[in-house]
Symmetry: C3
Amino acid sequence: MAIYQKLEELNITLSPPAAPVAAYVMYVQTGNLIFISGHIAKHADGSPNAGQLGKDVTTEQGQQAARAIAIDLVGTLQEACGGDLNRVTRIVKLMSLVNSTPDFTDQHLVTNGASELLGELFGDAGKHARSAFGVAQIPRGACVEIEMIVEVA
Amino acid sequence: MAIYQKLEELNITLSPPAAPVAAYVMYVQTGNLIFISGHIAKHADGSPNAGQLGKDVTTEQGQQAARAIAIDLVGTLQEACGGDLNRVTRIVKLMSLVNSTPDFTDQHLVTNGASELLGELFGDAGKHARSAFGVAQIPRGACVEIEMIVEVA
Amino acid sequence: MAIYQKLEELNITLSPPAAPVAAYVMYVQTGNLIFISGHIAKHADGSPNAGQLGKDVTTEQGQQAARAIAIDLVGTLQEACGGDLNRVTRIVKLMSLVNSTPDFTDQHLVTNGASELLGELFGDAGKHARSAFGVAQIPRGACVEIEMIVEVA
């Protein structure tokens, strides 16, 4: 998998995960599965990317937020893999929570921002199952939150 | 497991999964676990079964929608099993999302429509853990969405 | 792991899980993972601890509810472990659903009530991944619902 070449091509720099704002950890490995905690949408400065789809965040902005979360998830994944993303054999599943008004119904389009990036980066190994749905709110008011399960060698 | 006999008895015909409307796949197997993507409620013609519990969908209609989703999930599972549902050793877990107004509190009853069908079809192997809860919205306005984890031989 | 000593120190008595109010089971083991069903917040008498964060339940009350759910989850876990919590090697992941108004954004603080108790009880083995978010409603109107994945020896 030419994952590091792809990251360079897309001009993406990975960051290690920020310490969680609460009493948990950012990932746990059990067997060859890594469960990664829900990552919320953030601005480049680390502050929450807050707002609600259907009110003050457009579908396109939501997609960008989901893409940025996917980059953060891959940064956490890299740490979980001891620094080597070539150990990833499959992105198994995403759960994508979209901060939604009761009439916003394009959670799948928002989530594509994350799914498409993972496909670009990991190719066939990036093809994942997923659930996407609209939630009433997200910690710190973030517009999107995504968690991920990954299989490693 | 007399799964195919049960399907015939209940007059249920399985369909292969529809192609997802987005950048993901309908299931991923890792080890002997199959993670199946969230399936939304649909009408017989494939269009979304839209609406909200507590507003324009009754609990009984929600149960019927959940039962229909379970049939779709079993159709996807059959494909994931290479066409042979006898490989299923356990339905492990459901996550059931019910499109709910802020005062509808019978998500467990709605979800029973799916849980009971899985029990009928798979017997003891169909007894699963689950979470059910009310969400603000679901892609394409569907009234229910369910994802499933299954253990296979 | 001095788990039983810790339980005594904290004056916590575990209870076996109540029978589910619906067509499912409280836990399923597959390989060395135990998937525990969503447990809703309850009062000491077993009735639902109902209410919504941002309306009629404070963050501190929500934390207490989350802590009480964690105790119930550990009671279920003990049964799933055949009575011996020393078989637990890692709390893998929590999913925490907080019954929230559209403007309540402290789901992470509420969920800490559960996360911190698990850390106290299980030490390093209690450090888990998690997702926490606000949902529109929860079965029986409960203010919080939490599900858990655990690795056992």
